[in-house]
Symmetry: C2
Subunit: 560 residues, 2 copies
């Protein structure tokens, strides 16, 4: 049964090396075209996805009381018509507990990790069905569905397995201990068992389900727990595909497939609170709204909680060497998936007398209005071409986001208005180009929270130090995952690093070029700090895995 | 400033080796007599203690509003008359936050750990003042005050430092990362900063303050946090001595002494809830009652919580090779510090038709009543000699414990009654010999909770499997830290290991001889599993340290 582990050992060891050195590495090609036999694989994936439409998605889990589903493609605006099993929660928890006790909890950590790496490998081998499922539920572009939700998500899964492997490996399984008590020597044999916490619940979000779910699921499963996936009702299919594969591989490896099950609700009848307060819930992983995340953090006790919610991600402009390149990077990142990522920049703090741009003799002061107009123009360039818009803006996952844009349009000084663009392939796609609002610090109620989707604010502040102070204060108080600073002054950069370290946002400085500013690489970039309201956990550090199992010892006199 | 670390590096490395191999090791002699120049050191310590009586204990911390103290020696029954500064909480939190920001948070982890190892070394060098303070506040015997509350507590402190060192060492500080995006290579320099959570609050208990406080304080401080010690008002002096030393060494090393301060209340006006709910409280470590521990676990959010409370520690008797030796070990451990330890056995589950004792031809069935009588007799032997009683039972910390004994005497079938014994040196000492009650499972309300102090129950159950099932069910439901099984049947032992692993109690099997059954050795024994109501944290695993700091990164294009 250690066979699977040995098959994948080299991958795990390589992954752990990358985690320690934090250089770039991935076992997967980053672009869909580089996938082996890509065209055929894509066709097969698309056909598998299409065959599923209008059908029941069979998962033979216990306690099924209904088959429901309410997904609509943001591209076609048509219902997928897929129905999924809705099981009663007690049955799921019972089955999960039973499955743990039937061998998973007692299995050697490397045996479990071997099975889980096999899941990763298989998911990679049949990736495009998942890619199309992500595409037609989240509204991500095809490239993002492949990269962000496909291979990058698998990378974050491997990364979590590497950390779990390291954390469990740090506990010896046996020890010999001897000490004098008075004139007697006591010799003891000690055995240390790793015991899982219990049943983990993994909440997945509508816009980016797999990227957060895979590391959470892998972290819980590797350490011996079972996982019930509470999928967002708008985006079930990607998780159902993942769950089915986990179950298949677990079963093949001789374990109870009910280690991984689906908990389903509808927007009308949510079960989120019920599942968190279930007496058998031992771990809760949550990705989603700030409000429900905060409720979970406060109410999940005695379950452990790992959250990643949202906040206002900030941009501070001090000065730059290449103004056009900076604006292009900022605009592209703002537009990426219509800012439906927890890492998308939202609030741009710009000195009201502008910023210094360029180097040496060609340096000049760019006035505030020109910064705003440059951003608007750069966004226009992306949004104005339907081909580029489709690649970058993609589609809007939820009508709620359109409503939020409409509401914001009534509130602020619009520098760039939002409008639908016509997707070249899916003319009915739900789309919206970015809304850019110019604000000042008195309008904090507008921007001091996450405005999900393509809504951003350019905030006129006194100067660059004021920009930094306000940005970091907003992050500390209201949360924030990422931050972006442009400055040619090393002393200012040092102050920014210090200030954001205290506020708890992951900082990117002076980056230009084709890498999206908010790209977070597995094995290298820590995602979320846990220091502010945007989440309490980080992908991936030891803190993310070390408490998912506990250590129980037994000791007895040494046997001769 | 790394000088202190280099001075103590070998100790830390040796400690970490012990943690990984979990063999016996300590840099300190286990017995007071083996302490260097012991007699003089003891005298000096006693004199220092005596000089403090009736005096203010000077700690120059901010926000002092009063000088209070209400300690009484369990031995002399006289007030110590020591008064301590009571500071207003806002001032303490402000000062703690300021002290972190003034250099501690940014200091290199090894620099911090060097300072903290220096504290350990200095505390060892002036140990006996602390020993006498423990003796005259907790009522522990002199030997336990030296070992358990002295050197063993220092060992647990070093152990926590070793784990913090390991956890922080696992995070690289810098990385170079490069990847292709299209035809462009992006090269980034990444910097990873370790950022402390904030201000930690460490609650200490009346009966065993230092053993839990030192690892908690060390874990928080090593990872860059400040610590406010909320001492139990009945046992302030040991913590005040520790706090004073921390402050002295921190100051000598150039740090702000307000990294470690004292929060004080009285029994009449407790501040526990206030301090937990203080908006600047980022971490709470708690040792104490189940009730308040549970309140903290539920209400401390967003602070992290590490608890060690209590439960019903269980003994399961199946069979034994040496009946007398088993009974002697059980009786001694029951009597140790009058069972005022969270690890003391309380509930003895004994088959009603008795147990098999002895090996081979000399084996015989010992009836239930004989088991009870043997325990009673063994306890009588210890309690009947004032010299031995003073060594083992020591004194009762609180009048509440006497009240609890009195209440229990009204409830159950008394097999051995409790009474005061006359301490040979302190005739007025608050003492009580063990109360042993015979119960059956219908009387669960009596024994299915911690009855603090010398109160134990012998519970008549159907057979050994019933004993195991009931013991583990009680532990799972009501908490339990330690468990003790005697069995000559390997299959039964395997079942017991499995069952207690699931219930979450640290198990000792078939141990006899001079080692107290509940002795937990730093670097080898994990204390508390975190799997039941007796606490959520373990001394010491990576889970105890890994979340006390967070990782914040910054990244920027590689500089040429």
């Amino acid at each position: 049964m250690k066979q699977m582990f040995e098959t994948h050992r080299a991958t795990l060891e390589r992954a752990w090396q990358a985690c320690q050195e934090r250089h770039f590495w991935s076992p997967f090609p980053e672009a869909a075209d580089a996938y082996p036999d890509s065209a055929n694989a894509q066709t097969a994936g698309r056909l598998a996805f299409e065959r599923q439409l209008g059908q029941r998605f069979e998962i033979d889990q216990p306690g099924i009381t209904a088959w429901i589903g309410e997904e609509t493609s943001p591209y076609t605006r048509q219902q997928l018509g897929v129905s999924y099993p809705q099981s009663d929660l007690d049955s799921l928890f019972e089955a999960a507990t039973g499955a743990m006790q039937a061998g998973w909890a007692q299995a050697d950590p490397e045996q479990r990790i071997g099975v889980l790496l096999e899941v990763v490998q298989r998911q990679y081998q049949q990736l495009f069905e998942l890619v199309y499922a992500v595409f037609h539920t989240t509204g991500q572009s095809f490239n993002m569905s492949y990269a962000g939700s496909g291979v990058n998500a698998l990378d974050r899964g491997i990364e979590a397995l590497a950390y779990a492997w390291s954390a469990m490996g740090a506990v010896p399984r046996h020890a010999q201990w001897q000490r004098q008590f008075g004139r007697t020597t006591i010799e003891l044999e000690k055995t240390y068992r790793l015991v899982p916490r219990g049943v983990a619940v993994c909440f997945t979000c509508a816009s980016f389900p797999t990227w957060n779910a895979l590391p959470s699921m892998m972290a819980s499963l590797a350490t011996g727990n079972a996982v019930i996936v509470k999928a967002h009702p708008a985006t079930v299919l990607p998780m159902a595909i993942v769950i089915r594969l986990f179950r298949t591989v677990l079963k093949e490896a001789g374990f109870d497939p009910n280690l991984v099950t689906l908990a389903l609700d509808s927007r009308e009848q949510p079960i989120g609170k019920q599942i968190v307060k279930h007496p058998q819930a031992a771990i809760v992983d949550f990705t989603g709204s700030v409000g429900f995340g905060a409720w979970i953090e406060q109410n999940a006790h005695p379950a452990l909680v790992y959250t990643e919610t949202a906040g206002c991600n900030t941009v501070v402009l001090h000065s730059c060497d290449d103004f056009e390149a900076m604006i292009r990077s900022l605009a592209t990142t703002m537009c990426m998936y219509s800012a439906q990522m927890c890492t998308s920049p939202q609030n741009f703090y710009v000195p009201k007398n502008g910023i210094r741009a360029g180097l040496g003799e060609s340096a000049r002061q760019v006035p505030f209005d020109e910064v705003v107009q440059a951003l608007v123009k750069a966004v226009d360039a992306l949004a104005g071409s339907p081909q580029r818009a489709a690649m970058i803006l993609a589609a809007i996952q939820s009508d709620d986001t359109l409503a939020s844009i409409a509401a914001m349009r009534q509130q602020g000084a619009i520098a760039r208005d939002s409008a639908a663009y016509v997707h070249p392939e899916f003319p009915k796609a739900r789309t919206a180009t970015p809304l850019i609002i110019v604000a000042d610090p008195s309008q904090g109620e507008l921007y001091r929270q996450e405005r999900f989707g393509p809504i951003s604010f350019v905030i006129a502040v006194a100067d660059a130090d004021d920009a930094l102070a306000q940005a970091c204060s907003d992050v500390a108080q209201h949360g924030g995952l990422t931050a972006f600073v442009y400055a040619q002054d090393e002393a200012f950069i040092a102050r920014a690093e210090q200030a954001y370290a205290q506020a708890g946002a992951q900082l990117t400085i002076n980056l230009t070029g084709p890498m999206p500013l908010n790209f977070a690489a597995a094995y290298s970039d820590y995602h979320v700090t846990g220091l502010n309201a945007a989440g309490n956990a980080s992908l991936t550090d030891h803190s993310f895995v070390a408490s998912r199992f506990r250590i129980v010892q037994s000791r007895r006199p040494k046997r001769q």
